[in-house]
C-alpha cells in the first residue's frame, strides 16, 4: 500500500513548555506557566490521536549539521537530555523508538535528489532538546516511532534562498520515502516564528507577568503570517517567507517549515491555529494542516481497509 502524509504541524520547541507541564520525565519543577501554548498543544495532541499515524517525523534546528542532512538511524535511543541554554528548566529523561526503515528510505531518496545525506548510527548519540521537546509536547506517551532529521546549516552557511531550496528537495524526498514504505506519517516542523528574545531570564521563569513579545515588529510579523496561513494562502506565505525571516529573525530559516510544506506538496489549505504565545519574547504558534480533513489523505479506517 502506498504511504501518505496525513498531517503536518508547526510544533515549536521551547523547553519552557515541558517545564511548565511538570511531566515525570523532567527533573525541574515549576508552578506552571505558558498555559495558552500548552493548551494549544493539548488540542494538537487530540487531533494527532485521531489521525492515527504510524510514524512522526521531526526536523529540528537544534541538531545542526555541516555536511549533509542526517537521520537518526538507531532503533532505540534513551538518555537524559539537558538543554544547554536552559539547563535550569529542561533535564529530561527520554526513551524513543526510531523507524529506521523509513529513515533509511528518506536518506536514500535525499541522495537520489542530489543532496548529501547520512545515517546517524551511534547508539550513544545525544538527541537534541528541540527534537525531544517537540515530540513530548505533541505525543507525551512516546508510543509512536519517530524519524529525527537534522537541520543542515545551509541556510546560514550559504544563504536563505539556496538553503531553503535544499530543504524543499529534502521535503520532496521525504514524501517519496513515506509513499514507498507505506507509512501513515505526520510531519513536525520544530520552529519558532519571530525569534527576538530576552537577554536575561526572569528570576522566576514561569512568572507570566514578565512574558511578552520581545519586539512589536516581530509580533506584527507573526500575526501577519499566521493570518495568511489560517486563510490557506500558502503560496503567498512562501513568497513572503524570505522577508519574514530577514525582518523577524524567524527560526523558520533553519528549514523545518519549508521541509514540511514541500513534503505535503504546498497545499493551499487553511491551517488550524491551536494557539499562539511568546516564550522569553519569541513568537510561537502551534498550527495544524490536516490532510485527511482536506481530502488529500485517507482517514484511518479507510486507509486500514
Amino acid at each position: 500500500m502506498k504511504g501518505s502524509i496525513v498531517g503536518g504541524y508547526l510544533a515549536p520547541h521551547p523547553p519552557h513548555l515541558v517545564y511548565g507541564e511538570n511531566p515525570p520525565q523532567n527533573e525541574p519543577r515549576s508552578q506552571g506557566g505558558w498555559e495558552p501554548l500548552r493548551w494549544a498543544y493539548e488540542k494538537a495532541r487530540a487531533s494527532l490521536e485521531a489521525l492515527k499515524p504510524d510514524v512522526l517525523l521531526v526536523h529540528s534546528p537544534h541538531w545542526m549539521t555541516q555536511v549533509g542532512h542526517h537521520f537518526l538511524g538507531v532503533p532505540h535511543l534513551s538518555g537524559k537530555s539537558v538543554d544547554p541554554i536552559f539547563p535550569n528548566l529542561f533535564r529530561y529523561s527520554f526513551e524513543l523508538d526510531v523507524d529506521v526503515e523509513l529513515a533509511e528510505a528518506c536518506c536514500e531518496e535525499a541522495r537520489e535528489a542530489g543532496l548529501v545525506a547520512k545515517m546517524m548510527r551511534n547508539p550513544n548519540f545525544r538527541v537534541d532538546y528541540g527534537t525531544i521537546t517537540t515530540l513530548h509536547m505533541i505525543r507525551p506517551q512516546w508510543d509512536i516511532p519517530i524519524v529525527g532529521v537534522s537541520a543542515n546549516n545551509s541556510p546560514y552557511y550559504l544563504n536563505t534562498k539556496e538553503g531553503l531550496q535544499e530543504m524543499d528537495l529534502l521535503g520532496k524526498a521525504t514524501r517519496r520515502a513515506i509513499e514507498r514504505t507505506g507509512r501513515r506519517a505526520v510531519l513536525l516542523a520544530s520552529n519558532t516564528l519571530s525569534h527576538w528574545h530576552f537577554h536575561e531570564e526572569p528570576e522566576l521563569p514561569e512568572d507570566m507577568t514578565r512574558e511578552h513579545p520581545e519586539r512589536f515588529d516581530g509580533y506584527k510579523w507573526d500575526v501577519r503570517v499566521i493570518d495568511m496561513l489560517r486563510r490557506g494562502e500558502v503560496d503567498e506565505y512562501f513568497k513572503l517567507q524570505p522577508q519574514f525571516i530577514e525582518e523577524a529573525f524567524a527560526e523558520v530559516k533553519s528549514g523545518a517549515f519549508t521541509w514540511m510544506f514541500a513534503a505535503m506538496g504546498y497545499p493551499n489549505i487553511p491551517g488550524e491555529l491551536h494557539g499562539y504565545g511568546t516564550v522569553i519574547g519569541t513568537g510561537n504558534a502551534v498550527m495544524e494542516w490536516n490532510l485527511v480533513e482536506a481530502g488529500l489523505a485517507d482517514a484511518p479506517a479507510k486507509a486500514a481497509a
Binding site: 539537558v82 539547563p87 550513544n124 537577554h199 536575561e200
Partner: protein
C-alpha cells in the same frame, strides 16, 4: 598577571577522532607539543573559553566539580566517541561569576548532571591536560557578546585567578577560517577549501607570531569577516584579555585543514 602559558587551539574533534588521517595528524602533534609546553609552565588552573559552548542568555560557567562521560559529536558521529573526565576549579569559577557584573554581564553557574559539554572543550582538555592534575574554568561563548566583551571576560577571569594566587594557562578554543567542504571528501586529501582564506590564515598567524598586538587588533576584525573566522575570532580576544592585552611573540605549533576550514595550534609567549 599570573600567566603561566597561553594558547589558541582548534575545537574540531577530527584530529582526536581520526589522527590516523595525515592532514589531521599534524594538528594532533601540534596539540601535543602545546600540551608539553603547558605542562612545563606548571599552571594551577586552565582558563578555557570555547566557541562551541553556545550561550544566548547570560554568561555561563561550569561549576560542577567533576564532569565525566562520553560525547558523540553531532556532525562527526561516524568517527566514534569523545570520552572526557574534567575537574573544575569551583572556587575560581564562582569568583569569575561574581566579577562580571562590573562590566554589565550577568553570569550563571552550570552545575547539572548530563549537561551537554561542548566538543571544543573536550578536545582541548584531552590534548592539553591529559594526565595532568590541573583543574579548569570553562566558560561559554555568548552569541551576543563582541570581541571587546569577550576580552573583558578574559581579563576578569585572570584577575580573579590572581586574587586567589593562582597561576593560569589561558586557552581560547576555536577555529580559523570558516569555509568548509559541504560534501564527503577523501579525507586524506583534506585542505583549506578556499585559497584566499588559506592566505588570510597564514597572514594572521604570521602577525600573531610577530607579537605586534596593535596590528593584531587592527587587522583581526577584517580577517574575521573575510575569512569567515569561527565566531568572529572571539577566542583570540579571550586570550588577549587574560594576557592583559600584550604578549611578546607567538609560535604556531601546527596549521592545517579541518574538513576545509582552518585550524591552528598557537602558543603565546608573554
Amino acid at each position: 598577571m599570573p600567566i603561566a602559558s597561553a594558547f589558541l587551539v582548534p575545537g574540531t574533534p577530527l584530529p582526536l577522532l581520526r589522527r590516523d588521517n595525515p592532514p589531521w595528524e599534524a594538528i594532533a602533534r601540534g596539540y601535543e607539543a602545546a600540551g608539553q609546553a603547558l605542562a612545563a609552565s606548571k599552571p594551577d588552573v586552565a582558563l578555557i573559553y570555547s566557541t562551541q559552548w553556545i550561550a544566548v542568555l547570560d554568561q555561563l560557567w561550569q561549576t560542577r566539580g567533576r564532569i565525566q562521560g562520553s560525547h558523540v559529536d553531532e556532525n562527526w558521529h561516524e568517527y566514534g566517541e569523545l570520552p572526557f573526565d574534567i575537574r573544575v576549579d569551583i572556587d575560581l569559577a564562582k569568583a569569575c561569576i561574581a566579577s562580571t557584573a562590573q562590566i554589565g554581564v550577568r553570569s550563571r553557574e552550570v552545575d547539572y548532571d548530563a549537561f551537554p559539554i561542548d566538543t571544543g572543550s573536550i578536545v582541548a582538555t584531552h590534548f592539553l591536560l591529559r594526565g595532568l592534575d590541573i583543574p579548569v574554568v570553562l566558560t561559554s561563548n555568548n552569541l551576543y557578546h563582541d570581541g571587546q566583551t569577550t576580552e573583558s571576560l578574559g581579563r576578569l577571569a585572570a584577575q580573579a585567578a590572581d586574587a586567589q594566587g593562582k597561576r593560569i594557562a589561558v586557552i581560547g578554543v576555536g577555529g580559523l577560517s570558516g569555509s568548509s567542504f559541504r560534501q564527503d571528501i577523501d579525507i586524506a586529501t583534506d585542505h583549506i577549501v578556499n585559497d584566499d582564506e588559506d592566505r588570510a590564515n597564514r597572514e594572521m598567524l604570521a602577525l600573531l607570531e610577530r607579537g605586534d598586538v596593535v596590528e593584531v587588533r587592527e587587522k583581526a576584525p577584517d580577517y574575521a569577516q573575510s575569512a569567515r573566522a569561527d565566531m568572529g575570532f572571539k577566542h583570540l580576544y579571550w586570550v588577549l584579555g587574560a594576557l592583559g592585552g600584550q604578549y611578546k611573540k607567538a609560535r604556531t605549533h601546527a596549521y592545517g585543514p579541518a574538513f576545509g576550514s582552518g585550524a591552528a595550534v598557537v602558543e603565546f609567549q608573554h
